[in-house]
Symmetry: C2
Subunit: 364 residues, 2 copies
């Protein structure tokens, strides 16, 4: 693990009187160790103390992997059927953490913490932000990998607009997008939302069975990882000529996307960025239908700091990477979202990482 | 939601002095509502009170979906940037849950509960088992869907042994398995472990980049869903003639699989089932290398009750569905696991749902 990062993390923990950070498998673990174990219902976590020392607690079936991940550090294993809280207790006692304050990262499961609260005298607090803050300024290498991840997502858009035909299901489109990304160098392809017609009015639509029809709108939101860095793009296309109303909604969202990006300059106050985009949608009379924040940071996690909201009281700095993704969602009628990943690059310039066209695409 | 189930659930909660169950998106939600919303870092949950009433709390972007999922019931929305704990507070006050004891299901995130603990005067306890217990006896329809899900997994095995060739990566094999399952009617295809050579010695190996070589062992553990029900199968095959030692390990695991299945009869005490399989491996001198439980229940979740461990103090009943999956894992050398899904069917018979061969497969 990176020593400088451990020192920085330890200082932030000490300021909050937190004694250790508990990190369950997932993106934070990839950030710390370059790899992650598999997360299932069994308790496991890397524990990082505020003095920079760390150890691992897991089920026996993961002990060999954990030992390889943190050579020279303690790994505590528990066997299926054993009460894992007793192994945590032993590990905490041996590391001076009995009764101490433990912060949990974003992937720790609540039911496991409830079990620990019942058996141990530790206090558990929200520690989701610690590692996100530690990596909020991307390194040049991370920025380069973000660029590549976005280019792979762009490539999939280029292919998918040639592929989509009425009669296909949303699942057909999701599967094709994933396949194109994997063929083009993605290390993994994300879940992916493909929503036709009125399904697009649900921003986090989870279905896959909708059949694409003539005159449909098709909204696609997907991403991939490249060397640990995520991409995330949304494009909305039309099957056949859109109505005037559909054009108005599309062009409003596009204008909001451009306004948000234009406002996202080095030094900008994040609520001003959010408001620049939101104002465009409100002025067009669709304010109530833009129901979510303008964007989220991106990197080792698909969503991480900095969150682009009206209450994120900080300024954009070189090395920050985030989405700009306004949308308009009118139930049972229409949904349009247009999302790019934007960075403040090494030179302090605003750089849009997605090059897939945002011009209105009409598939005939 | 099923009224009978709600009454049963309410009774169990009351016995534990629990006032409500908090269910975040995932398999439990599919069980309850036939569908689930998308889980991201934003807090959202279905709250089921012990009197059978229920309501939903989510980010505004999911409100329309939630309203469709629980028509006639309250849906509380919060906007990005708002402190969600204040909406939870309002919802809890309106539903008589202020200061009450709330159980959390398996998918609720700990950091969100920590935020609630800080701002609300509720107590949170482990409630992972409530819904798993409620559905531990599968309906005839669920058993039928479990059978179909297993047949799809079997089909993928049939295809994959014709597909695997030295020079392929583990990812190539994972992708092919998933594609075959989706082509054969799976609603979704699970993560999937494909581990070559010494990678197979890590039971939950997460890598994908290993290149399959002559004389390798290839362990494949995967599953799919069919109408909400999971399958889960593991087979281990050889690329070219195995050594005598490899044959011994394979045949020991196979014998343990058969012994576990033979012991898994209606009325059997679960620790006896576990011990029947474990004894075979211990007697062959490999006891220390079988590092996990014999199996887990399966249904709406890939892992759910009944867990087949040495401390699960209950008996097998008609309608229970679970895996039998002994393994031997010797670090840097070899790993073999052979897994089937087994049910105690409507007639009280032990029925193995996987029909993919367990004979030693040698790919030349």
């Amino acid at each position: 693990m990176n020593k400088e990062m451990l020192v920085k993390l330890g200082e932030v923990m000490k300021k909050d009187n937190v004694d250790a950070l508990m990190v369950a498998p997932g993106n934070d673990m990839v950030f710390l160790l370059g790899t992650s174990t598999h997360l299932c219902e069994r308790f496991q976590a890397l524990i990082i103390k505020n003095d920079g020392d760390y150890f691992y607690i897991c089920n026996l079936l993961t002990v060999d992997e954990a030992k390889d991940m943190i050579p020279g550090h303690d790994v505590y294993g528990w066997f299926d059927g054993e009460d894992f809280t007793q192994i945590v207790k032993k590990a905490f006692e041996e590391h001076g953490l009995a009764g101490k304050k433990i912060a949990v990262n974003g992937t720790v499961r609540a039911f496991n913490v409830c079990k620990m609260v019942e058996k141990l005298d530790n206090t558990f607090v929200n520690g989701k932000d610690y590692l996100e803050e530690t990596r909020i300024i991307k390194t040049p290498e991370e920025l380069e990998n973000l660029r590549k991840a976005s280019l792979i997502a762009d490539k999939a858009f280029e292919e998918i607009i040639k592929f989509i035909k009425p009669g296909m299901t949303e699942a057909d489109v999701v599967n094709k997008i994933k396949a194109v990304m994997l063929e083009n160098g993605a290390d993994s392809a994300g879940g992916g939302i493909v929503a036709r017609g009125e399904n697009a009015a649900l921003p986090h639509y989870m279905g896959k069975s909708g059949v694409i029809k003539e005159k449909d709108i098709v909204e696609m939101d997907y991403g991939c990882t490249y060397k640990g860095m995520w991409s995330d793009i949304t494009r909305t296309v039309f099957i056949g000529e859109p109505t005037e109303r559909e054009k108005l909604v599309y062009n409003t969202v596009l204008a909001a996307n451009l306004a948000g990006t234009a406002a996202a300059v080095k030094g900008a106050y994040i609520p001003d960025v959010e408001n620049a985009a939101r104002k465009v949608i409100a002025d067009a009379g669709f304010g109530q239908y833009f129901t979510h924040r303008l964007g989220h940071g991106i990197g080792y996690a698909g969503h991480e700091a900095p969150y682009i909201t009206g209450v994120t009281q900080r300024n954009l700095e070189p090395g920050m990477a985030f989405s700009i993704e306004p949308g308009i969602y009118i139930k049972d009628e229409i949904g349009v979202r247009i999302e790019d990943i934007v960075i403040i690059n090494e030179k302090g310039e605003t750089e849009v990482l997605n090059h897939a066209t945002k011009e209105m695409i009409i598939i005939k």
